[in-house]
């Protein structure tokens, strides 16, 4: 169970998130869409305190944290229950694919190197990169790097995986393999929040689609409803632009 209540974030005078409420049941998949600069990344980053929310209540699994009063233990607790997939992959450059995936198990779970590597190998198997175990990120394609990034998140066995535009930095030829992996995770009932401009993916995989604008949730509905029958004029105009093939300026 993931629940966000009244999450608020300001950068100086600028209120980037204005009281966001959102909840997911286990195994649920939410796709967040919206124009550039709306606070989608900030929202994800607030869930694991890469950004510190100014106010609000965060619940992830058995841990509930008042953002304004979060202690460093709370923050660590939230981070250990969540995992993040970055737009630019953010792999550890000095570690091999295998080591990138094993790192958390060694450092956070305290597994022996041998056991961590054995488990990391299983994950490599699942993401179809078993043959790249000893490759460094610099030697991998963008698509492969992102799949390792997802593998690293899978290793966390997190309550929820947060994806921030996982395919936006990729050359078009690599997008499909990453989306396919995400669909595979969805089929395995992994809870996830995905920020993306891939509307087809949202349609196929999402349980709920959230449309954000100006730091607020404008509309939330299952994809069948939101895409065919959006209620709010802002959602309609956004979808018109995106579906006309003009992806938003930053896509």
């Amino acid at each position: 169970m993931i629940a966000l209540k009244g999450i608020t974030k300001r950068f100086g005078e600028h209120t980037v998130l204005d009281g966001i409420d959102l909840s997911l049941a286990r195994g649920e998949i939410i796709v967040v869409i919206g124009p550039s600069g709306t606070g989608k990344s900030t929202l994800l980053r607030c869930v694991n305190f890469l950004e510190r929310p100014d106010a609000g209540q965060l619940t992830v699994g058995d841990l509930s944290v008042d953002a304004a009063r979060a202690t460093s233990d709370d923050i660590l607790g939230l981070r250990r229950r969540t995992a993040f997939v970055f737009q630019n992959y953010a792999l550890f450059a000095h570690k091999t694919a295998l080591e990138n995936i094993a790192e958390r198990m060694i450092v956070v779970e305290g597994l022996s190197k041998r056991e961590a590597h054995a488990r990391a190998r299983e994950i490599l198997e699942r993401i179809g990169l078993a043959d790249k175990a000893d490759a460094y990120p610099a030697a991998l394609s963008g698509g492969q790097q992102q799949r390792i990034g997802i593998g690293r998140a899978m290793a966390a066995k997190a309550e929820v995986i947060l994806f921030d535009e996982p395919t936006s930095a990729l050359d078009p030829e690599w997008v499909e393999e990453v989306l396919a992996l995400m669909k595979q995770l969805a089929a395995e009932q992994q809870t996830m929040i995905v920020v993306t401009h891939e509307m087809q993916f949202a349609r196929e995989v999402a349980d709920q689609v959230v449309f954000m604008e100006g730091g607020r949730i404008v509309e939330q509905a299952p994809p069948s409803e939101l895409f065919t029958n959006p209620r709010d004029e802002r959602t309609r105009s956004f979808l018109r632009k995106v579906l006309a093939g003009n992806a938003p300026s930053d896509a």
Partner: protein, 224 residues
């Protein structure tokens, strides 16, 4: 104009080489201590810890802003005047201390630059999987930063080896001190100092060669 006394020079080489272990030993000890201290200083500077950061800045500024020779005299001759436990400090210890403090100030800035050069997203990735700041620093940032800083640090090591020659001013008979004594008894100053210069030169050249090979290896790192 008289000719160089080559026989004397050849004979001097093995004598002086006997002092090489002390010279290299002081440099090695100074380097190890300076590496540890400079990593600490760099981490303090990068994480902007209050008070400690200002203290580190002051430390770095002082030890970069004053000559090594002055620092050595300050430790060896000056400090025991106030700190009685230092009365027994010997020249070798004082030299290692001086080299450590002096060079760690420079090295801290190189390491700091290397740390800030590591892509910030890797820090975030480490935090996102629940690593603490200390774990992130130790396992993700420092290993990469040391790699980036290695060529510069090698330069400081070479510089440090040459700087050990100042120890003779504290009465230490290392390579330079020994040469000084030999020259004073033979009056063949030019020959003696030429021999010691060649010895330093060869050591430094050998190290530069190692440095180049190391850099080549580092440059093709992470490509497998």
């Amino acid at each position: 104009m008289q000719a160089l006394n080559l026989d004397y020079m050849v004979g001097l080489v093995p004598v002086l080489l006997g002092y090489l272990p002390l010279t290299l030993g002081m440099a090695a000890a100074g380097m190890v201590c300076a590496l540890i201290l400079s990593c600490g200083l760099a981490v303090i500077r990068v994480s902007r810890l209050p008070v400690l950061n200002q203290a580190a800045q002051l430390f770095i500024s002082f030890f970069r802003g004053t000559p090594l020779l002055v620092q050595l005299f300050l430790f060896y001759y000056g400090l025991p005047q106030f700190l009685s436990f230092l009365v027994s400090i010997n020249g070798v210890t004082a030299t290692i201390m001086g080299l450590t403090l002096h060079f760690s100030a420079y090295m801290a800035e190189s390491i700091r630059a290397a740390i800030t050069g590591i892509d910030r997203s890797q820090t975030e990735a480490a935090q996102s999987i629940g690593m603490t700041n200390a774990q992130t620093m130790r396992r993700i940032i420092l290993p990469q930063a040391t790699r980036v800083a290695t060529p510069t640090l090698m330069n400081y090591f070479i510089d440090m080896i040459k700087s050990t020659s100042l120890a003779f001013t504290l009465g230490v008979t290392e390579l330079m001190g020994a040469t000084q004594k030999e020259a004073a008894s033979s009056f063949l100053y030019f020959e003696a100092f030429l021999v010691v210069a060649l010895i330093y030169w060869i050591i430094v050249e050998a190290l530069s060669w190692c440095q180049k090979r190391l850099e080549k290896r580092l440059n093709r790192a992470y490509q497998r």
